[in-house]
C-alpha cells in the first residue's frame, strides 16, 4: 500500500476516532445507544455552514460554537427525554433516540434542503508535499485538531473532578452515590459531552468533505463500528478504533472496490462482537 493511501486513511481515521468517542461514551457509560448521533454530527456541520455563510467564521473556529450548541441540545435531550425513560431499557432508548433523529433530520431537510453542501475557506486548495505524497492542508489541520480534542477529552475524564466523577459512576454507581457524587448530573454531563463531540466533529467534517442529511445513516454506522472496535466507554480505544477503521476502509477499497467499504467495516464490527466484545484493545473495564 502506498504511503499516500496510508496517510489519507490515517487522516480520515482521525475524524472517525473523534466521532466515535462521543458515541462510545454515551453507550459505554450510560448504556444509551444514541441513534440520533449521526444527525447531531450533521447538525454541527450545518451550524458551521451558517457561521461561515453569515459571519464568515472559519469552521475551525465555529467548531467551538457547534460543540457548545450541541452540548446544550444534548443536555436538553438527556434531561427532558432520556432520563425519565431510562427504566424502559434498550427498546425505549432505541425508539426515543430514533425519534429524535427523525425530528433533527426533518429540521435539517426543511431548513437546508437535501442538497450536498460544503464550506470552502480561502486556503482550501493548498497541499503540503512530503516526498511523493501530497497532504491536503485542511485534512492535516483537521487531524491535529481531532488529536488535540481527543487528548483534551482524555484529560477531562481523567484529571478533572467532573470527569473522575463520571468514571466513578461508570465503575460503581452505588459506590459513587455513597461518596456523595451526583450520579444523575454525571450522566447528564457525559451525554452532553458526547453530543458536543458529535457537533464538533461535524464542523471538522464540513471543512473537508461535502455533507447532507443523506450521510446520517453512514455516519451512524461508522460510529457504531468505532465504538465497538475500541470498547465501549474507552477513549483511547475509540481513537485506535477510528484509525483502524480508516485504514480498514482503505484496504477494503484496494481489495474490493469503493462500494464495499461499508460492508467491510460492518463485517469487522460483527466479527469483533463475536470474538472480542470488549474491543480490540480493551479489557473488561466498564463491562
Amino acid at each position: 500500500m502506498s504511503l499516500q493511501i496510508l496517510i489519507n486513511s490515517i487522516l480520515l481515521g482521525g475524524i472517525y476516532a473523534l466521532m466515535g468517542i462521543g458515541f462510545s461514551l454515551q453507550w459505554g457509560i450510560s448504556g444509551i445507544i444514541n441513534l440520533s448521533y449521526g444527525a447531531m454530527v450533521i447538525l454541527g456541520a450545518y451550524i458551521s455552514l451558517e457561521c461561515f455563510n453569515l459571519f464568515q467564521i472559519d469552521p475551525f473556529v465555529s467548531m467551538i460554537i457547534s460543540g457548545a450548541i450541541l452540548f446544550v441540545i444534548g443536555a436538553i435531550v438527556y434531561r427532558g427525554l432520556l432520563q425519565p425513560l431510562l427504566a424502559g431499557g434498550i427498546i425505549f432508548t432505541l425508539i426515543l433516540t430514533f425519534g429524535v433523529r427523525l425530528i433533527v433530520e426533518n429540521i435539517i431537510l426543511k431548513v437546508w434542503s437535501p442538497n450536498y453542501r460544503n464550506i470552502r475557506p480561502a486556503y482550501i486548495g493548498s497541499t503540503i508535499q512530503v516526498g511523493d505524497t501530497y497532504i491536503p492542508l485542511t485534512k492535516l489541520i483537521v487531524f491535529f485538531i481531532a488529536a488535540v480534542v481527543i487528548y483534551l477529552t482524555y484529560l477531562f475524564m481523567m484529571k478533572t473532578k467532573t470527569g473522575k466523577g463520571i468514571q466513578a459512576v461508570a465503575l460503581d454507581k452505588e459506590g459513587a452515590q455513597a461518596v456523595g457524587i451526583d450520579v444523575e448530573k454525571m450522566y447528564l454531563i457525559n451525554f452532553a459531552v458526547g453530543t458536543a463531540l458529535a457537533g464538533l466533529t461535524g464542523s471538522l467534517w464540513a471543512s473537508v468533505y461535502n455533507f447532507s442529511p443523506h450521510l446520517i445513516n453512514s455516519i451512524t454506522g461508522k460510529v457504531f463500528i468505532v465504538a465497538v472496535l475500541g470498547g465501549l466507554g474507552n477513549i483511547w480505544g475509540a481513537a485506535v478504533g477510528g484509525l483502524f477503521l480508516g485504514i480498514a476502509e482503505a484496504v477494503g477499497l484496494l481489495l474490493f472496490g469503493a462500494e464495499w467499504q461499508e460492508a467491510v467495516g460492518l463485517g469487522i464490527m460483527v466479527g469483533v462482537l463475536i470474538w472480542r466484545p470488549y474491543g480490540l484493545i480493551g479489557q473488561k473495564f466498564f463491562g
Partner: protein
C-alpha cells in the same frame, strides 16, 4: 384487555376469529387505497410476529431482523427475473433466509443484549452493502423490478390483500403452536433465565437458532410478497432501519410477548403512519418522531397495557368510594 388476552382463551379465540371474518369481507367494501393500507398492516404484523418470537418470547432483540425481509424480497426478484414463477421463488426465498439465519445465528446468538442487537444491525448493513454492489445480479443501488402481473389493479390488490392476510393468520397460528409446544417452553425459559435453562439441560443454542429460523421464515415470505406486490424494490427500502424501528414500536404498542399484540400494534402504527404521511408531507419525519416519543411517554405499556391499567385503576377508585 391484556388480562383477557393472557388468561381468557375463549375470548381471545373469539376475538381472533371475529377479526379474521371481518378482514375476509372487508375488501369488498373498501377502496383500492384502503385495501393497500390493510395489506401493509398485515405485512407489518407478520414482520412484528417475527420480532415477537425473538424478543417477546425469547428476550433477544434482533434489531436488524429486517435483513430477512430484504433477502426474501431480493431472492424473489432475482428468481422471477430469471423466469421462475412466484410460487417457486417463495420457498426459495424462505429457505435462503432460514439458511442464513442458521449460518449467522450460530456465532451471533452467543452474544447477548445490546451487543446482539447491534451485531444484527451490522449484518443487515453488510448484506445491504453486498446487494448494493453486486449490480449485475441485484440491480445494485438502483433497485430492481419484478414481472408485473397482467391483471387489472383492483384484482391484483385483492390477491395481495388475501395473500398477506393468509400469511398473517398462518404466522400467528404457527407462533401460537410453537409457543405452546416443548420448543416454545424452551424458548421462553431462555427469556426467563438463560443460565438456569442451560443448567437444566436445555440446549439453548438449538432453541435460539430455531427461533431465529422461524422468525426468518415469516419475515422473508413477507419480503417476497412485498417485492412481487410492489414490482420494484431498492436496497435501502427493504433493508431499512426505519422499518426495523417501526416494528419495534409496533411490538411495544401492541405488547411484546402476546400472540395478538403485533397485530394490534401494526394496526395502530400503520394507521398513525398513514395519517401522518397524508397530513404532514413535508414534516412527516419529524411528526413521526414526535409521535414515537409521545407513545413512550404516554403509553409505555402499549395501548393494551395502558387501557388495562386504566380499567384496574377505575375499579380501585370505585371500590375506595364504596368502602368509605
Amino acid at each position: 384487555m391484556k388480562l383477557l388476552i393472557e388468561n381468557n382463551k375463549k375470548i381471545n379465540i373469539l376475538l381472533f376469529i371475529t377479526l379474521m371474518i371481518v378482514f375476509i369481507f372487508l375488501p369488498f367494501f373498501l377502496s383500492g387505497y384502503w385495501i393497500r393500507v390493510f395489506t401493509t398492516i398485515f405485512m407489518y404484523a407478520v414482520i412484528a410476529q417475527g420480532m415477537n418470537i425473538m424478543y417477546g418470547y425469547m428476550g433477544y432483540l434482533p434489531f436488524g431482523n429486517v435483513m430477512f425481509f430484504g433477502i426474501g424480497a431480493y431472492i424473489a426478484a432475482i428468481g422471477m427475473n430469471r423466469g421462475l414463477p412466484f410460487l417457486a421463488v417463495l420457498p426459495l426465498a424462505a429457505l435462503t433466509a432460514i439458511f442464513l439465519s442458521i449460518l449467522f445465528g450460530i456465532p451471533v446468538l452467543k452474544i447477548r443484549g445490546h451487543y446482539f442487537a447491534i451485531a444484527t444491525i451490522g449484518i443487515n448493513g453488510a448484506i445491504m452493502g453486498v446487494v448494493q454492489n453486486t449490480t449485475e445480479i441485484t440491480g445494485g443501488a438502483m433497485g430492481t423490478t419484478l414481472p408485473i402481473i397482467d391483471k387489472p389493479p383492483a384484482v391484483t390488490y385483492g390477491y395481495f390483500y388475501f395473500a398477506m392476510l393468509a400469511l398473517m393468520i398462518i404466522a400467528t397460528l404457527l407462533l401460537y403452536l410453537v409457543i405452546n409446544s416443548k420448543l416454545g417452553y424452551g424458548i421462553r425459559s431462555i427469556k426467563a433465565n438463560e443460565e438456569a435453562a442451560n443448567s437444566m439441560g436445555i440446549n439453548t443454542i438449538y432453541h435460539k437458532v430455531t427461533a431465529w429460523a422461524i422468525s426468518a421464515l415469516f419475515v422473508s415470505i413477507a419480503g417476497a410478497l412485498y417485492a412481487y406486490w410492489m414490482s420494484f424494490i431498492g436496497p435501502t427500502e427493504v433493508f431499512s432501519t426505519v422499518v426495523a424501528v417501526k416494528v419495534i414500536v409496533i411490538m411495544l404498542i401492541g405488547g411484546a410477548g402476546t400472540i395478538l399484540g403485533p397485530i394490534i400494534g401494526s394496526f395502530i402504527v400503520s394507521m398513525l403512519s398513514e395519517v401522518v404521511w397524508s397530513s404532514f408531507l413535508e414534516y412527516h419525519l419529524g411528526v413521526l418522531g414526535i409521535a414515537m416519543i409521545a407513545i413512550l411517554f404516554f403509553a409505555p405499556k402499549g395501548i393494551v397495557g395502558t387501557m388495562d391499567d386504566f380499567i384496574k385503576n377505575r375499579g380501585l377508585r370505585l371500590r375506595k368510594k364504596v368502602s368509605v
